[in-house]
Symmetry: C2
């Protein structure tokens, strides 16, 4: 099998071990940790062409390409990463990392706990925050000898990491792309996360998080959590166009098997997800979302939080995204403008709701490409306006 | 204890038994059934001042007043029903009914099944539809000797019953008030219902619906179902104003106990509901919502469905209602206007989202009052415009 010419082709994840203790925001310390990483493209001599990709709730380090010849699905952001794609691997050295707390190889709840006979951490894995992740990214940057990232890019929860980067380490990135994100969760956002968490926590197979040692798994809870999540990822309009009120068998069955196509879709998505994701990780990721609020230690002022940033910003939202609506992106943009920071903002007309950030929508992809510049080291395209 | 002068005071529910078989839309037949009913005010001699109140998903026949002196909470629509209130019991004879399939006294899953040794129906209770309910209302109307209702009024799922009434029995109502409702559910509406149902169905304590005979109860499932429901009842803005990102203990606890106030609220609502509602009824009510689509047998044309209606309509929506948005009400209004039917429509500026229909918002209450007329038998107020 051969891959498309704009694919990065076969990729091999690498694991980086960090043997020093990591102080976490919650007060606890991870004695050591590992990060799963994929890279695409080549780091140039001056190490000035590196782009860090931060993942969203259910994402990971496998952002582009294939793991083997027969791999049916490429990485989660293959639409944007590859030779001549928006994030052009002919020009850039792209680094995608799986965050700690995850379940795809980086240290998380399914990893051995050195403080407990190397049994899986399970629910004893600490709750981590966006800031904790950024701190692990810094250690990774040092290991890769990347003093300053050409850009840090992320969608949704990934955008929050990019935003936190710009605040905590202003000298270590030139560009920051925050896509389909928000400066902090709303009460409604938290409410949806809480339903997802309670679905898992109340599943009798959860066993207070020690399901692995009980040879059990809170499958039902994870299915419900993902179903409710999926509703918030799609726009009402996308659901209408995709499913409408279409019936699976063409008529009402007056029972609790699937009747409407949208039910079939949700159950399928829930089932599939529940087979490939760790429940404790799901809890950790939703809590990281809830906790995120960089304005918190700046007198609840996002403007103050962003006052010392030094990078150029691109903020992108999608018209039908109701999980993190365009208004939420505008909060970031307005705080940057108030600070006279260079920011480009585009609200992209798209039907796919929050999920839009994963689709190769031309204006979106081209905006990202332009922001990252035709050539590495060039300032971003002149089509972008800077506020006065 | 004395009640406010605009309260109907102490009320006593009555049970009406119907011993004839009831053919249901699903094809099954109920051999007999009972309806729990409350009435407020007096039926006049000509039986021309009767108003029927249809309830929503978790509602029932107890719409106004108190059941005993020490009752802490009045009926669910006490804000609108009483002496000199919008639905003025000094002028009108108000009838509030609990629908079959419910769990508040009318025949439903917790009722004895005469075809099974009078054991509770449980999951053997048939799935009923809005049309089935309207057919039971007709039998109730005949029993009460009410040939023509002065008005039929309902919010949310209750509005759907009022709409179905106007289509199926055009000669038997003069006015129809459809509040915070929709002509059919969207894919997103169905998706939320499906999450609620799966929460219950997948709870191990559900026992395929036979939880009563197992001395069990799917409490966790019902809590989750109600939590997800509650998110859709409140507007994002109402949640923001009510809870924002307020923390219960003032700081992050880094655990899974309640951290944000909104979590506390949702858990409380879920818990409370789970103690007072039957899980099989919840399933039946959500399915009735999903099935509702009066256009279905009119070539999917709501305009055709409404062509033979004869009553005056009042349609009310609320600006922040995202469960059944103003656009959904406009679908009804537009179909009526196309038919040159008399309709008044008001989109009320309110912050409480879908729940707004339960609040005594002045413009809303006054609109309802004006529509129902200062005096029984008067045509509704001249401030209402009729389409040409």
């Amino acid at each position: 099998m051969s891959f498309a010419s704009d694919s990065v082709g076969i990729v091999t994840p690498q694991k980086y071990s960090f043997e020093q203790p990591l102080q976490l925001e919650c007060g606890r310390v991870l004695p050591r940790f590992e990060l799963m990483v994929e890279t695409y493209g080549e780091l140039n001599e001056t190490k000035s062409n590196a782009i860090l990709i931060c993942h969203a709730l259910s994402g990971h380090h496998h952002a582009a390409g294939y793991h083997h010849e027969d791999d049916k699905k490429p990485g989660w952001w293959d639409a944007c990463i590859g030779p001549n794609k928006a994030i052009d691997t002919n020009k850039f050295f792209v680094v995608a990392v799986n965050n700690i707390g995850g379940c795809h190889g980086s240290t998380g709840p399914t990893s051995p706990n050195p403080e407990n006979d190397n049994l899986p951490y399970g629910p004893d894995f600490p709750l981590v925050t966006v800031r904790d992740w950024v701190n692990t990214h810094i250690l990774l940057s040092d290991r890769l000898e990347i003093e300053k990232w050409y850009a840090i890019v992320g969608g949704s929860l990934g955008g929050m990491q990019a935003l936190q980067w710009s605040i905590d380490y202003p000298d270590r990135l030139e560009r920051c792309a925050i896509i389909a994100s928000a400066p902090k969760l709303s009460a409604q956002n938290i409410a949806f996360n809480e339903v997802a968490r309670q679905s898992i926590l109340s599943d009798p197979d959860f066993h207070q998080g020690y399901y692995l040692s009980k040879d059990s798994y809170p499958r039902r809870g994870l299915i419900l959590a993902r179903m409710v999540g999926h509703i918030t990822y799609l726009s009402e309009e996308a659901m209408k166009q995709k499913f409408g009120r279409d019936l699976k068998s063409g008529k009402f069955m007056y029972g609790f098997d699937v009747e409407f196509q949208v039910e079939s879709y949700l159950r399928y998505q829930g089932e599939r997800f529940s087979r490939n994701f760790d429940a404790n990780t799901y809890l950790i990721m939703t809590k990281a979302l809830d906790y995120f609020d960089p304005s918190r230690e700046y007198e609840s002022s996002l403007t103050k939080a962003l006052a010392n940033t030094k990078c150029r910003f691109l903020v992108i939202s999608f018209t039908t995204d109701w999980r993190f609506s365009p208004q939420r992106s505008e909060e970031i943009v307005n705080a940057l403008i108030t600070n006279h920071k260079p920011v480009s903002y585009l609200d992209i007309d798209a039907e796919q709701g929050h999920d839009s950030f994963l689709f190769p929508i031309p204006l979106y992809v081209n905006t990202l490409r332009a922001f990252l510049g035709g050539e590495a080291h060039l300032r971003s395209a002149s089509t972008f306006q800077e506020p006065k």
